[in-house]
Symmetry: C2
Subunit: 380 residues, 2 copies
């Protein structure tokens, strides 16, 4: 059996391993938390830091293939492993581009895909030279994750909120829609496109509210989304699964926002909604099998379950019974022992015949199901 | 998190654990093969014999709930654990009835469900007294599994093929169809019926050829199948998932054949084809969640992958690529290192819009995909 390792043991690793058990593959996970969501679902778990050269190198030696579930991994170790014959998904050179937001933006320019205008700022002093560029979004080059490392700067008074480290300052685009396009790339450079996903944000809280697939966009926009995504992944020259996030502005122009070189939150519905899921697809790529069928069986929505504000400690799932009673809901709890405000604790996929049904059910899930803590609310 | 143990670590355990990772549950497996299909997918694996009192008792102490993936487990240990407060699915008293084919047949009589006429034979001498009962099927009371322990006796000359042990001799029914009905029973005695499954046998080889769901039977037959299955599981007085196998004879009469008090081969398609799978359903029962939605999203077929005759040793999957290229096929390889003739090595689920499509695709899978061994065919 092929030996395949995953750097990181979070929920993406967990879902990858649920899917791996359909195939003959021996699985390995490296993560520094022995209770992480993926730790118990692999053949071999190694405790170690995915950012540490020695840990990653020792883990990867002797494996046939490696993949990641988070970008903040030790790149030098992956490069050495690749040179020694371990297949790495995505390739270290693709990961090097994606991992740094500055290089990522420069890459989009270099392959000629539309992306928001930007300037590079190396520190707060440089940032202060770009008053005329506002309103803008400041994104730290490395180390940002899950909303951290991203700051909207609407006016000069907010410049002090920026990062005193190499970053990109991007022109704020008046967004009509945010779309995610998942693309699988096989070892022999076949591209398989999943139906695009509408990432619906709550305008009041700037929070991802739910995701709908297929996205409600005109066919021509879908072609553009696919064409832009193809340019993005083709230039990376790497097999694997990629999630390209795009903006559609008020005029209908399409821009790349950013790319994840891995399975992605916007593709979780593919577990139930598509013939081949994003997780199945990555195994097919790693195992050198033919690409799967990305066709959707039924329209789907995803609701993310994040730790409720004001609750920390041992997780409890308020309203879970009511959601489990819904006829078309698929509950995924990631098994994290501790909740924190905003922590990704699970998701619910909903299948339905129409977008209206899906939105209705998604809102019902959001209303009912809350991740709180057994200790109750913290009074602040 | 609730602590739940599975006795047995085969493919049913494997699929149960794939499904368990959607819920907050800590999983335990007892099995005497450290390389078994489920060993690496649980939080805690214990090496031990599921038929041994001490092994089962030690394993079950301290768990909240236990289930089985095979009937041949130590019943006395389960009874003691149940008395000490461990919830057992199915209950030991239900398992005691099912586990022994004689008691199972007597049970069907006692609850008044139609079943083929039978006599009990304690040894070959007694069997020889029943010439007038032929043609019949001789089934050993305990220890039969996967075709072993079942012998068709067509005429008096074949009586010597019978079992010299307590057995049932059942009148052979001229079968038109064989149906499987999966029923989930919650702790508060709610019954959830999956759509029935047609188990299609190859008339030449008497081998299970493929399974189709929903079964192609008239609505009235479906009601009868459900009513008989309900009588069967209600009388067992146990929560859990049950598979009731039934015959429909040439006159359309319906008889119970036998019952499995667990997830079952005839329900594997529910992973992709139904809103709640049989595996999901068992976790819902164990975790005391509401029953799931048994509704089918699309009609489905299951093709079992069994070790090809003439091949033993390290498994290889001939034709796997071609099946992975089929648009509507879902491959499940159980990860068993060694193949043997007839060993269950995996299955393929096919989704389709019509029975004709499904049968076409099922036959294609059967033609293409063969489980052989890396060493090649044994010349006999």
């Amino acid at each position: 059996m092929l030996k395949a390792g995953i750097l990181g043991g979070g929920q993406l690793g967990r879902m990858l391993l649920q899917s791996a058990a359909n195939y003959p593959v021996e699985t390995f996970v490296l993560e520094n938390d022995p209770d992480c969501p993926a730790a118990h679902l692999c053949h071999h778990f190694t405790l170690g830091d995915i950012r540490n050269f020695d840990a990653v190198y020792a883990f990867g030696r002797g494996l046939d293939a490696l993949t990641i579930e988070i970008e903040s991994v030790n790149l030098e170790a992956l490069e050495k492993l690749e040179a020694e014959g371990v297949r790495v998904y995505p390739t270290p050179s693709a990961l090097r581009i994606i991992k740094n937001k500055i290089r990522q933006k420069e890459y989009y320019q270099s392959v000629g895909v539309p992306t928001a205008a930007f300037v590079v700022t190396n520190n707060l002093v440089e940032l202060n030279n770009h008053e005329s560029f506002l309103p803008a979004v400041h994104k730290i080059g490395e180390g940002g994750y899950d909303g951290r490392g991203v700051q909207i700067i609407s006016n000069p008074a907010e410049l002090s909120k920026g990062f005193d480290a190499p970053s990109v300052l991007e022109k704020l685009i008046p967004i009509r829609k945010e779309i995610a396009q998942i693309v699988a790339v096989t070892n022999d450079q076949h591209y398989a496109f999943f139906p695009p996903v509408d990432m619906v944000f709550n305008p009041h809280l700037n929070l991802l509210d739910y995701q709908l697939s297929p996205a409600d966009i005109p066919e021509e926009a879908r072609w553009k989304v696919e064409a832009i995504s193809l340019s993005v992944v083709r230039g990376l020259n790497s097999a694997g699964v990629f999630a390209v996030e795009l903006f559609i502005d008020q005029q209908g122009e399409i821009f790349v926002n950013e790319t994840a070189p891995r399975v992605h939150n916007s593709g979780h519905h593919t577990i139930e909604a598509n013939f081949s899921s994003q997780f199945d697809m990555l195994w097919r790529v790693i195992l050198n099998y033919p690409a799967g069928n990305t066709k959707q069986i039924l329209p789907a929505a995803i609701v993310n379950l994040v730790g409720e504000a004001g609750y920390s400690g041992t997780a409890a799932y308020q309203g879970l019974e009511e959601v489990l009673q819904m006829d078309n809901a698929f509950v995924h709890i990631y098994g994290k022992k501790e909740t924190r405000p905003g922590r990704k604790m699970g998701h619910v996929t909903i299948l339905g015949k129409s977008a209206a049904d899906l939105v209705y059910s998604a809102n019902r899930v959001k209303e009912k199901l809350k991740v709180v803590s057994t200790a109750g609310k913290i009074i602040e």
